[in-house]
């Protein structure tokens, strides 16, 4: 089918007027105009003509009506294999549909017949596949479209595929397949989730849970059963043991054994006591025996000692007597020696006395002699001393200090000098009396001699007799008076100090002093010769000598002889004293000997007397010996008897420790048995409780039941697992088969589409949706994307290309069909549009394509048959 013309009247914006698109040719036809020009109106009108029954007023039809109302009229000329026809439809008022043969104007069909005619054209019907393919903006999903439109178009595509590939159903299994898949899915979905895991709450998951729960239960119960059986076994052995323990015969045996052991123990203990007593007695007897033996021994020893002591006593006495004798001798010797000493000493004293007297008298004589000399010397010394003293007193009286003379001489010299000066400078007064006047003039009260020159002092009163008094006042200074006065004052002072009247006198005194000093030295030398140690010592010596000499008796004798006698006497004294000392030491030794012998004798005597007292009288001694010997024999006998007793007891002794151990063991056996019985009863009570509880629960039945249930659950689970495997396998098989079939079904259209796609997209493949028969996904570079997420441009390009592919399929089948594009490329860029047009032109060789577009500039260069809207008035 091809469209050749389209006319419309009273449609939408063309209220009350008509427009026509005439001369639609083969290949690409482009109606390019600005918006609001009426392109979409044309498209919608054309669509309504083919798809809307003239009798109805659905939305699409309402949309055609102008606001002002009226009856839309649409007319199209078509060219089919059967010829050229004019299709006319009017909606609303005067609604009609009719088909005329274009050439003859013959009415081919009208009303419902006409509708059927049109439907056959677009939907294939019995004659063939659909006759129109539409693409408009809405096809990209951007604009909502009526479902019927979609359905119609889908039907058109389906018919295309069916015509080339056969029925979809026969290929994909159709409803049966869908049903089988749905059944399978439903069964599977009860068991598992989409990812193949057991579905929560589903029978599979429940079976797993049940199995797990039962495994747990079975395990628990089996443990409890085991516990029960162990408890039973244990209780059984406990009971056996208890029965054994509580056996009266055995208990009696045990008690008997204890009693026996106790008796044996008591006997052993008694025996032990007896032995101990006997041993004590033996010890006692041994002590007594020892005592008796000791008594006898000491007695014998005493005797022996007594004999010895007696000898010692005799000996001691003898020694003592000897010592006493010696002491006496020594004493006598001592007396002699003492007498000798006294004699010697007296003689010595006498000799000494004589000598002393003799010497005394000698000394007195000497002293007297010496005294006379000394007295002489003393008198001289006294005189000498008096002389010295006199000289000294004289000296003292005239003594001058040292340098006094020299000072005096110096001052005198100075005075001379000064006098000379004064003399040289002093105004002199001299009166030369006229003869005869004497003394008429006095100066300061002194009459002036004639010719006498007098020096004037500072003020001089001159009394001139008869004249009166003349006062002269001289000026002070430079006349040397002052210095002279001072020096004279000093000289006077010094003289006064020296007590001399003048230098001469001083010189006289000085030489007097020198003389005196010489005399004094001589006197002193003399005195020193007479009394070298001074007068006092001399006087003392004199006094001593006077004493010595005074009262002395004249003794006759030769001092040397006397001295020799004295030495002899002294020697005798010494010898006698030595002899006396020797005698003394002999006496001492004798005394000590006496003491020691006495002491030894005393100790011997005391011991002897002690022993004698102990030993008693001589006559009883024998009896005592015998008595002691008898006591010893008796003690020995007693000891032997006790010893024998102990031996006997020891020989017959039982093992006390053993008896005790046995008794203890027996006792512990009885006690242990009692304790064990108690413990076992307790344990048995515990076991009874456990067993009772478990038995009451019928635990074994429960366990077997659980085991059975577990087996059943496992079986059921295995069945379900098999079911899941089965269903999974089936679903996979069905899906795989269906996918394959689908691919096969869409193979032809893919074959057409692939080269077209190649024009726009490199290496792109498309999968089709079975329902809509339109592309579902696009794969590029290995990435598969649903069409819905593609860009608008790509989507519309894909839509256009898909229609072209279908159109090519139809064309190949000998049924060329127009493809109508209404602003189908709004999102595409110019470059793409150009390439699209290449595709369109390539198609257009035997394909009618009608393009409505507002993109004038973009489409201006694309070539094709340019269509225009022209005014049109419907016939009649």
């Amino acid at each position: 089918m091809k469209l050749t013309a389209l006319r419309l009247h009273n449609v939408r914006r063309f209220a009350g007027r008509g427009v026509a698109v005439e001369g639609i040719g083969d290949g690409v036809n482009v109606l390019c105009a600005v918006n609001e020009f009426g392109k979409s109106t044309c498209f919608d009108a054309l669509h309504a003509l083919f798809f809307q029954p003239h009798s109805g007023t659905p939305g699409a039809v309402q949309g055609l009506r102008p606001y002002s109302g009226g009856n839309p009229l649409v007319e199209a000329d078509i060219l089919t294999g059967q010829g050229a026809f004019r299709l006319t439809k009017q909606f609303y008022g005067g609604r009609r549909a009719m088909v005329r043969e274009l050439g003859s104007g013959r009415l081919v069909a009208q009303a419902d017949e006409a509708e059927r005619f049109i439907a056959n054209l677009v939907q294939g019907g019995t004659t063939g596949p659909a006759g129109l393919l539409w693409v408009r903006q809405g096809i990209t999903g951007i604009e909502r479209r009526a479902k019927s439109d979609e359905e119609g178009e889908k039907r058109a595509r389906e018919s295309v595929l069916t015509s080339v590939q056969g029925e979809v159903e026969s290929l994909t299994g159709g409803r049966r397949m869908a049903q089988a898949v749905a059944d399978c899915e439903e069964e599977l979905s009860r068991l598992v989730t989409a990812t193949g895991r057991p579905k929560a709450g589903g029978p599979y998951a429940q079976a797993i849970e049940e199995r797990d729960r039962l495994v747990e239960t079975e395990r628990r119960l089996s443990a409890e059963v085991r516990e029960l059986r162990e408890a039973l076994d244990k209780r059984r052995s406990l009971r056996a043991r208890l029965a054994e323990l509580e056996n009266p015969e055995q208990q009696a045996t045990r008690l008997r054994e204890v009693t026996q052991a106790e008796a044996a123990l008591t006997a052993a203990r008694a025996h032990g006591e007896a032995l101990k007593t006997a041993e004590v007695e033996v010890a006692l007897a041994r002590n007594r025996l020892d005592a008796a033996r000791q008594a006898l021994d000491s007695h014998c020893r005493n005797w022996a000692r007594f004999a010895v002591l007696r000898d010692l006593d005799t000996d001691g006495r003898r020694k003592r007597d000897e010592a006493q004798a010696r002491q006496r001798a020594a004493s006598e010797a001592g007396q002699v020696a003492a007498t000798a000493v006294d004699t010697a000493e007296r003689e010595e004293r006498e000799a000494r006395d004589l000598l002393s007297r003799l010497e005394k008298s000698l000394r007195a004589r000497d002293a007297a002699e010496h005294l006379a000399g000394l007295l002489q010397s003393h008198a001289k010394a006294e005189a000498g001393r008096a002389e010295v003293e006199a000289i000294q007193a004289e000296l003292k009286a005239i003594a001058l200090p040292a340098n006094a003379v020299k000072q005096l001489e110096a001052i005198e010299t100075e005075l001379v000098g000064l006098r000379a000066v004064v003399a040289a400078r002093v105004p002199l007064l001299r009166v030369d009396y006229r003869a005869g006047v004497t003394g008429a003039v006095g100066l300061d009260g002194v009459a002036l001699g004639d010719g006498e020159e007098r020096s004037l002092t500072r003020s001089a009163g001159l009394e001139i007799e008869g004249v009166g008094r003349l006062t002269l006042t001289l000026p002070h200074g430079r006349d040397g008076h002052d210095e002279l006065a001072q020096a004279e004052a000093r000289c006077r002072a010094l003289l006064a100090t020296l007590g001399v009247g003048s230098l001469v006198e001083a010189r006289q005194r000085e030489s007097a002093i020198r003389d005196l000093t010489g005399r004094l030295g001589l006197a002193q030398q003399r005195l020193a010769l007479l009394a070298p140690d001074g007068l006092a010592a001399l006087r003392e010596t004199i006094a001593r000598l006077e004493a010595q000499s005074a009262g002395s008796v004249e003794v006759k004798g030769d001092p040397e002889a006397v001295r020799g006698a004295l030495a002899m006497a002294e020697a005798r004294v010494t010898a006698s004293r030595n002899a006396q000392r020797e005698a003394q030491s002999a006496r001492d030794a004798a005394g000590a000997l006496v003491v020691s012998t006495e002491r030894a004798l005393a100790s011997v005597a005391s011991e002897l007397s002690g022993l004698a007292a102990m030993l008693g009288a001589e006559e009883g001694r024998q009896a005592l010996d015998m008595q002691l010997a008898a006591a010893l024999a008796e003690a020995d006998a007693v000891f032997s008897a006790a010893q024998a007793q102990v031996e006997t007891l020891r020989a017959g002794a039982t093992d006390l420790a053993g008896a005790e151990a046995k008794f203890r063991r027996m006792r512990s056996v009885v006690d242990a048995a009692a304790a064990e019985i108690a413990t076992m009863r307790e344990e048995a009570a515990g076991l009874n409780a456990l067993i009772g509880a478990r038995s009451n629960d019928a635990i074994e039945e429960a366990w077997q039941e659980a085991s059975d249930k577990l087996a059943a659950a496992q079986k059921r689970l295995a069945g379900l697992e098999r079911e899941v495997a089965l269903l999974t396998r089936l679903r996979d098989a069905l899906e795989a088969a269906r996918a394959e079939a689908r691919d096969h079904y869409f193979a032809p259209v893919m074959g057409e589409l692939r080269p077209l796609l190649g024009l726009l997209f490199e290496d792109a493949t498309v999968t089709f949706d079975e329902e809509t028969l339109l592309p579902r996904t696009v794969s590029r570079n290995g990435l598969e994307e649903p069409v819905g997420v593609l860009s608008g441009g790509m989507r519309e390009q894909l839509a256009v290309l898909t229609r072209l592919a279908f159109a090519r399929l139809l064309a190949k089948d000998g049924q060329p069909t127009p493809v109508i594009l209404d602003d189908a490329l709004v999102y595409s860029d110019d470059d793409r549009i150009e390439r699209m047009f290449d595709a369109l032109h390539r198609q257009a060789s035997n394909q009618q394509i009608i393009v409505f577009s507002c993109r004038q500039r973009a489409f201006a260069q694309l070539g094709g048959n340019i269509l225009r809207l022209v005014p049109w008035v419907p016939e009649g």
Partner: protein, 374 residues
């Protein structure tokens, strides 16, 4: 003439944990009421004594209520006399059980817990061989050879255990001499342990369980009515029915062309018995997928009528041919999937699990497609 009922292996208290919840109570209850049914048979057979040859209780520790109820039931059937022997499940190790039983023992119940002759009546001596432990490890009936009984008295042995190298618990170490009756001069040896009824020789019998508890023996619950005319006389042994539930295995050996559902329907027990039936359908052989699906559906359809019904198909192979696959789809993706699953199920190089999954998947796909309008 001395008559008695010989039974064993009551396993009172067994809980049947592997059975569905709602069935467990009934099965358990049936083990109790079997005492009544034994008593009924005793009275019917004019027997005054019921010998229970071990395993009266399932475990060593039945709940006190369980024990007391059993004893009460026995007491209720006085003057019938009950003799209980400890078996391997309720051996003498079960102190608690036997102590409790002794404590509440009714006058008409006797516990044969000692290996000593018991004079049931003048001239009738019972020689019990109670199990001492779970696995005694020796022939407990050994003592019977030497057991002295009065001259001219009947000697009746009572024992529990395996007599050949088989046993109900699968361990056959404690074997009772098969000729014990002859050796010990027993007029009759009443045996327990084997849950199926079995004649060992003219004088030795296993009574079997009076109320079955497993599919193994495939026979109704029975006991034995034994009549002894006198010492040395051959015993007259008559099986009597005591079971309440019927445990049966139904083998279905199928051929590829069989209509399994029809075969099953033919062989199922009649409707009135189904409530008391536990049925195990063991399908073997080969089936086409539709028939297989049909079998599943048929089993599913009747299952609610039975106390318990299980279908075991481990031995059943599924044959698939192209027409079978046509039932899924003649062409197209669905058929393609079916082809692939079939190929996979037959691919020997694959793991058994995978093949199994593929086979199961194919059968499931059949069942889906069957339910769809073609």
């Amino acid at each position: 003439m001395f008559r008695f009922i010989h039974s064993s292996d009551l396993h009172i208290g067994k809980r049947f944990g592997s059975m569905p919840e709602e069935l467990r109570g009934r099965l358990r209850d049936a083990r109790h009421t079997v005492l009544d049914r034994l008593a009924v048979q005793a009275r019917a057979g004019e027997a005054g004594t019921i010998l229970l040859a071990g395993d009266c209780f399932d475990t060593e520790t039945p709940s006190p209520a369980m024990l007391r109820q059993a004893l009460a039931a026995m007491a209720g059937h006085a003057p019938l006399r009950w003799i209980m022997l400890p078996g391997n499940h309720d051996s003498l190790l079960a102190d608690e059980l036997w102590a409790a039983a002794r404590a509440a023992l009714p006058a008409n119940v006797l516990l044969a817990t000692e290996p000593e002759p018991i004079e049931l009546e003048p001239g009738i001596m019972l020689l019990p061989a109670p199990c001492t432990t779970r696995r005694p490890g020796r022939d407990l009936t050994d003592w019977m050879d030497r057991a002295a009984t009065p001259e001219g008295a009947l000697r009746i042995g009572l024992a529990h255990g395996a007599i050949q190298s088989f046993s109900e618990d699968g361990v056959g170490l404690d074997i009772i001499a098969p000729d014990r009756a002859a050796r010990s001069g027993l007029d009759y040896l009443a045996l327990g342990d084997w849950h199926g009824q079995m004649r060992v020789n003219a004088r030795s019998w296993y009574s079997g369980a009076p109320e079955p508890d497993r599919f193994k023996h495939d026979e109704p619950g029975r006991a034995l009515l034994v009549s002894l005319a006198g010492p040395g006389a051959a015993p007259e042994v008559v099986p009597v029915e005591t079971g309440s539930f019927d445990w049966r295995t139904l083998p279905l050996d199928l051929l590829s062309g069989d209509d399994a559902a029809a075969v099953l329907a033919e062989r199922l027990p009649s409707g009135s018995l189904r409530r008391q039936s536990l049925l195990r359908v063991v399908a073997t052989g080969r089936l086409r997928p539709q028939a297989r699906a049909g079998l599943d559906a048929a089993v599913a359809a009747v299952t609610p009528e039975f106390a318990h019904l299980v279908l075991e198909t481990e031995g059943l192979a599924t044959d698939c041919e192209s027409e079978d696959l046509d039932a899924i789809d003649r062409a197209g993706a669905l058929r393609h999937a079916a082809d692939r699953l079939l190929a996979e199920s037959l691919d020997e190089s694959r793991a058994a699990g995978e093949r199994q999954a593929a086979r199961d998947a194919l059968v499931r796909l059949f069942s889906y497609c069957e339910g769809m309008p073609s």
